[in-house]
Amino acid sequence: MSTSYPTTWRRPPQLIKSARLRYAIQFAIALYLAVAIGTLEVDWARVAAGLERGGRFAAGFLQPDFVSRWDDISRGLVESLTMTLTSTVVGVLLSVPVGIGAASNIAPAPIYFVCRSIIAVSRALQEIIIAIFLVAMFGFGPFAGFLTLSFATIGFLAKLLADDIEEIEPGQVEAVRSTGASWWQMVNYSVQPQVMPRLIGLSLYRLDINFRESAVIGIVGAGGIGATLNTAIDRYEYDSAGAILLLIIAIVMVAEYGSSYLRKFLQ
């Protein structure tokens, strides 16, 4: 009557069943790591010089100078904030039709493919690459930055909106369709109410992403606070650069907390 059940249990290997192959792969990884580290050439003199420069930078950071370049800094900030807001508004306005078109459950196949392609192109190109390209086309300044961020917003927002639309409750759509509603009425009455809170949340989230990105693309000439920061570093004015970085951090944090508070309030 007394069957003796085992008292130990080990999780069976899930991925690679053969123990020998498992050890061989682990050994190969360790070997490759050792070889790879061995081929790194580290110029310790340059590391030392870099550390010294880094020290000066850190010192500037600790004594930020907001005053002597304040005109440049404030102009850069206003430019960045303008770029952020306008590009978010334009980006959202463009994302909504693209997002609706890219939702396979409500859009016809040809429109779906066009819209998904727009999203794919926008997502494939990183902001900095688009910025370099647009700066070459439209010249230095915030206009190129505005175009870059608008375009990047489409890739982000339209994709998430489309994915959200694809997950809506189909029963509500069916019910509205059964009343004899047209396609536009169906979108307005059964899709929009279901995705609106998330669309607002994502737009606010994109607003603070766009501000952070506006600081980065300024470095490649697309205007804004990034351009000011780049100039300050080029002039070895680390105290002004420190001031700019502190301002960017402060604004990003305010935007972050502000938008997360608003999103919570909306949901």
């Binding site: 069916e174 019910a175 369709r177 059964s178 009343t179 004899g180 509603a181 009425q185 059964s190 109410p193």
Partner: protein, 273 residues
């Protein structure tokens, strides 16, 4: 009057969901459609307003064959057919009033529905319907703030706002408790009688169907296997529709349930006094 002629539907790569269904529903008749899960009840009523496209056959409502209509004409035809759903299918984030008014979508241009500027007559009618289903004071509540029974009442008001010539009802009580189920069935049948409105009601609860329906059609594997009065629905007929089972046990279970309900009612009254 609705007449279905040789209606069939097969989904890609599957058994036919409906085969050669021919059925006539005269004006003012309330028809219960029963059958096991997967028998094609839901497909049948969705083929009528073409939420599901029938493969072959005709769906004649009055003089028109709905199966042949193009997009615009189909929309116009859908206005004439009200539908009530199993999980209510209200748009949860819209108000009760918007849900009821959405029954008018087929009649108003886009700008009116977008701006929620419905004609005075439509608004008045929506209030009248809300009063009829007993939800006058809930007009401005959001649909997701209502209980199951209340939501289904809104669903009924929405279907009636279409001023339909036919009502399609898909498992109206599947998500409701027994007492609310009876209230909802009573409301639907009363309203149909008031308006001489024919209705096809998908229903999986056999005793409920026998209590409220004038005629019962049994569907099995996409075919009509029973068509008659509720009183003709004998044990043999149920076995034909559902397969072998102890039907008296089920009826007894229902009697027990009714007994329990009555008991609960008595206790509630005792507390109230």
């Amino acid at each position: 009057m609705l007449h279905l002629e040789g209606l069939s539907k097969s989904y890609a790569g599957g058994d036919p969901a409906l085969s050669d269904v021919t059925l006539t529903v005269p004006k003012g008749e309330i028809l219960g459609l029963i059958g096991p899960s997967g028998a094609g009840k839901s497909t049948l009523i969705r083929c009528i307003n073409r939420l599901v496209e029938p493969t072959t056959g005709a769906v004649r409502l009055g003089d028109e064959d709905l199966a042949q209509l193009g997009k615009t004409d189909l929309r116009r035809a859908r206005r004439r057919i009200g539908m009530i759903f199993q999980e209510y299918a209200l748009v949860e984030r819209l108000t009760v009033m918007e849900n009821v008014l959405s029954g008018r979508l087929g009649y108003v241009p886009f700008w009116r529905s977008f701006l929620r500027r419905y004609p005075a007559r439509d608004v008045q009618q929506a209030y009248r319907l809300l009063d009829r289903v007993g939800l006058m004071d809930k007009a401005d509540s959001r649909a997701d703030a209502l209980s199951g029974g209340q939501r289904q009442r809104v669903g009924i008001a929405r279907a009636l706002a279409q001023e339909p010539e036919l009502l399609l009802v898909d498992e109206p009580t599947a998500s409701l408790d027994p007492k609310t189920s009876r209230q909802i069935m009573r409301l639907i049948t009363e309203i149909c009688q008031e308006r001489g409105l024919p209705a096809i009601v998908n229903i999986h609860d056999v005793p409920l169907a026998q209590q409220f329906m004038q005629r019962i059609v049994g569907l099995r594997a996409g075919r009509i296997v029973f068509d008659g009065a509720p009183s003709e629905l004998t044990e043999d007929a149920l076995t034909t529709i559902y397969g072998a089972e102890d039907w008296n046990a089920m009826r007894k279970g229902d009697a027990d349930q009714a007994e329990a309900e009555a008991d609960a009612q008595r206790r509630l009254e005792a507390i109230a006094q």
